[in-house]
């Protein structure tokens, strides 16, 4: 069985008190409880503070470009669907630069576990507004306050019939661990948006701010009702729901590709002897 020691990586370069530390610890705990070994999964990330995540534990890693982690994760999953593929992104990374890929990865329903560290601000570039920054938030780059409406990833995902939509909070690690495990065990694309305070640049959405607002979805909440889920996804402000907002049983993308029905692509040998027959088709 794997232990926490199996997952030790480089020393994180995040700011002291960053919400990412809680997510990292929770992720390692979840991996141990899931019985995952480092070589059994691949984390794909882009660029941002969140995207440094895979370097701070131990696993197969493709740390690619800003906004482009989902296409890489898609390629890995299609080439080897026996590999657990996890995507770790930030709100700027995934909802800004990579928004188009998010939409289409949800449509495909590729079996990728996406965790978005959503701190509602750009940390790596020092404090500009992100797509999830609240309207009116003043930054050095938005001196008149954020004018665009806040992006709502939960409503967006439910609208696209995303197969698993959840929100967690970095300050509630037990609950977040449950969400991580549920996502990993779900078949199909999963989006877990994790509210994560940025202690250096976001002076609005602090630990305190979130603690006063978040509440857990109870046992009476039916996460399989899409209309109810959409309503729940619209909640923001004085009360912010955390938990599994929506899930369905859509077939995942890989199941619908006949070529990899029996065997992952990476294990299918190339039979060069077929080429001769193909050549004849040109006569």
């Amino acid at each position: 069985m794997p232990s926490l020691d199996d997952f030790s990586g480089l020393k994180p370069a995040w700011c002291p008190g960053c919400g990412n530390f809680g997510i990292l610890k929770t992720f390692k705990d979840a991996a141990v409880e899931l019985g995952l070994e480092p070589h059994q999964f691949t984390i794909v990330s882009g660029i941002g503070q969140a995207a440094k995540f895979p370097h701070y534990l131990k696993c197969n890693t493709f740390n690619g470009l800003h906004g482009r982690s989902l296409p890489v994760a898609t390629g890995i999953t299609l080439a080897n669907h026996s590999m657990l593929v996890i995507d770790v992104a930030g709100d700027g990374d995934c909802y800004g630069e990579g928004g188009n890929h998010l939409m289409h990865t949800i449509r495909r329903n590729v079996n990728i576990k996406l965790f978005v560290h959503d701190n509602q601000i750009y940390g790596l570039t020092k404090g500009q507004a992100s797509p999830t920054s609240m309207e009116g938030m003043v930054t050095k780059n938005q001196p008149f306050g954020v004018l665009s409406e806040q992006f709502n990833p939960m409503a967006f995902a439910v609208a696209l019939d995303c197969s698993f939509v959840a929100r967690g909070f970095a300050g509630d690690q037990e609950h977040l661990k449950m969400l991580i495990k549920e996502a990993v065990n779900h078949k199909g694309f999963t989006l877990v948006d994790i509210l994560q305070p940025c202690v250096s640049f976001n002076k609005v959405n602090t630990y305190e701010w979130y603690r006063q607002r978040v509440y857990k979805l109870g046992a009476d909440y039916n996460s399989e009702n899409r209309i109810a889920a959409f309503e729940k996804a619209l909640e923001w402000g004085d009360k912010i729901p955390i938990g599994i907002i929506y899930r369905n049983n859509r077939l995942d993308f890989e199941e619908r590709i006949p070529v990899i029905k029996d065997e992952p692509l990476v294990r299918q040998p190339f039979d060069i002897s077929k080429v001769e027959k193909t050549l004849k088709e040109f006569y």
Partner: protein, 604 residues
């Protein structure tokens, strides 16, 4: 179905007379056939069907064929053409002069009548075009009426026209009837019969009515293979074990994806139509990282979106093959026309410094084998390899006696299964003598595989360390580069080995330059130097091509662009400057007559 002997005889006599009056024509009895047939009309009228069918009849009859197409960016209407050159000798470029025009629209007649050869004929259907022409070169064939009468549907007017062209050329119907049988196998006997009757009706009509037809076909031979440039790239990818192709449709690159998709089931390939070109290249990199051979392709605009991904391939040392099918720019440019103006883009695009290989095949055969070499080099050195094609090569079909498949290479350079799990440790970017670190398949062993777009250490974790930064740059660039350069084949020489005049080209102009050399070599000491492996520029060890250029009196660099991008490359990399430059940048390919004229004007 054979033509009456008397007609063949008349054709032959008339050919000889013509031939003797025109010294430019080759009068060798076996090989004298060299006809250009142009099918012109609106998009959606069936130009492609007639052109494709005729080409197939010719190649299966053992003739040499060269076809090219000119179309507009629309699905219906406009004016498009499909030109087929059929000959007893190898042909590899279009001619300006046309022998048979199949005019499906009035514009065809208007545009192409001046291009008719002395024996040229225009066939058209006066009822469809609503106009009548009385000149000796016009032959009114009621395509639609014959289709209705013999096939039962006006859809078969194209089959009538195809049969008619064969009738005019004195080629029998056996091969065409065989093609009809194959094509309509699934649709049943009745459709086959109807189409066959339509073909025969067209053929009979032409044989009887085309009194002035002076064409004569060469002796038939063994069937030849017929293949277009982009199909050859797609086939090359499939034959190289490509398992993953992701792209966004863009003319003229789309047909590569379509070919690979057509083989997905048989070969076990995943073809994914990405949401954009950024996703396309990143998906391909993900698949390659996971352990399969991957490729993407686009035209200039789409490749522009891939540029960041190109440097990601370089930084993470992930093998990737990219087809860049050029079309005239800037921006959307001429979406369906041809140009060679993206060489600089391919050479210098992307941030940072890293090795890349650029191939520019000149023929479908080169396209096939260079695609194979692209996979071989990209896997061996873990680098991006670009294949430059263009609309002209993409859509042109050529005949070949066959491809020598024993020349195909397939070496699996990945660390898989046992080979990986038996290692004591693994570092994805470990320093090695060659600069190449064996690439492992994640999940095949307990070791993890880590890579990063940031500068990284040997394990693949991000670093800003000075020494590591230098060593990693050296590993990627300077250790690999000399080895890659040694893999590059020198340019091909065609013609005189000690030429006074050298015509230099790269990529798709190969055929037309070759024919120009043929046309001029009777009176000039001339040769062609053709580059298909462009970058890194091949060394002169195997063949001192720079010496050949320096010894020549006149060296002319011929490019389908405005700024002589290849000539600049040769000056930058090898310090060689051409005497003369020929540029064409109107979006259309050179014809043999046009280029021969340009060269004659330059050398006097």
């Amino acid at each position: 179905m054979l033509l009456p002997k008397s007609i063949i005889l008349i054709n032959y006599i008339s050919f000889r007379m013509q031939c003797e009056m025109n010294p430019a024509k080759n009068c060798d009895i076996i090989n004298f056939m060299d006809y250009s047939i142009k099918i012109g009309g609106e998009a959606g009228q069936g130009i492609q069907t007639i052109g494709d069918t005729l080409s197939l009849v010719f190649s299966r009859s053992g003739y040499h064929v060269f076809t090219h197409q000119d179309y507009e960016s629309r699905i219906r209407g406009g004016h498009n053409y499909y030109q087929v050159r059929v000959s007893g000798n190898p042909v590899m470029a279009p001619k300006e002069a046309i022998d048979i025009i199949v005019a499906l629209d009035a514009k065809s007649i208007e545009l192409d009548t001046p291009k008719l050869t002395g024996i040229g004929q225009i066939i058209y259907d006066s009822s469809a075009l609503k106009q009548r022409h009385d000149g000796a070169q016009f032959l009114d064939i009621p395509f639609t009426a014959l289709a209705l009468e013999h096939g039962g549907s006006k859809i078969m007017a194209n089959t009538v026209a195809t049969g008619a062209v064969l009738g005019m050329l004195g080629i029998g119907l056996d091969v065409l009837l065989g093609i009809i049988k194959d094509t309509f196998k699934k649709k049943g006997e009745e459709i086959i019969k109807a189409n066959s009757s339509a073909a025969m009706a067209g053929h009979d009509y032409a044989v009887k009515q085309c009194i002035k037809c002076a064409f004569s076909a060469a002796v038939e031979g063994k069937p030849k293979m017929l293949i277009a440039g982009n199909d050859a790239i797609g086939f090359g990818a499939v034959a190289s074990g490509c398992k993953f192709y992701s792209a966004y449709p863009m003319t003229p690159a789309t047909s590569i994806m379509l070919y690979v998709a057509s083989k997905a089931k048989e070969y076990g390939i995943i073809v994914e139509q990405a949401e954009d070109e950024i996703a396309a290249i990143n998906m391909a990199l993900g698949a390659s990282f996971a352990g399969v051979r991957a490729m993407t392709g686009s035209s200039g605009g789409g490749f522009a979106l891939m540029v960041e991904g190109l440097s990601l391939a370089a930084m993470t040392e992930t093998p990737l093959v990219i087809a860049l099918a050029q079309r005239p720019g800037p921006a959307t440019g001429l979406p369906t026309k041809t140009e060679q103006a993206d060489l600089n883009f391919a050479l210098y695009t992307s941030h940072g410094e890293f090795p890349r290989v650029i191939f520019a095949p000149g023929t479908p055969e080169q396209a096939f084998f260079l695609t194979n070499k692209a996979f071989e080099l990209s896997e061996k050195y873990q680098i991006p390899v670009l294949i430059l094609t263009d609309q002209y090569l993409a859509d042109s079909q050529w005949t070949f006696d066959g491809f020598d498949l024993t020349k195909l290479k397939y070496n699996d350079y990945r660390l898989r299964g046992e080979a990986f799990s038996s290692l004591a440790e693994y570092k994805r970017h470990a320093f090695t003598e060659s600069g190449v670190t064996p690439m492992a398949v994640p999940g095949d062993a307990k070791h993890v595989v880590v890579t990063d777009s940031d500068e990284h250490d040997e394990e693949g974790h991000l670093t800003e360390d000075i020494d590591l930064t230098l060593k990693m740059a050296d590993k990627r660039l300077f250790k690999k580069m000399p080895q890659i350069r040694a893999e590059m084949e020198p340019p091909a020489l065609y013609g005189n080995a000690n030429p006074d005049i050298v015509l230099v080209g790269w990529g798709s102009t190969c055929g037309v330059i070759k024919e120009t050399v043929d046309a001029l070599s009777k009176t000039k000491n001339i040769a062609m130097l053709h580059f298909s492996e462009i970058y890194p520029l091949p060394s002169t060890k195997k063949f001192n091509y720079l010496g050949l250029l320096k010894n020549a009196k006149t060296t002319i660099c011929i490019e389908l662009n405005a700024t002589s991008q290849f000539a600049r490359l040769l000056r930058t990399e090898a310090g060689y400057t051409f005497n003369r430059l020929v540029n064409k940048y109107d979006g259309r390919p050179f014809t043999v007559e046009e280029l021969t004229g340009e060269i004659n004007a330059l050398i006097g």
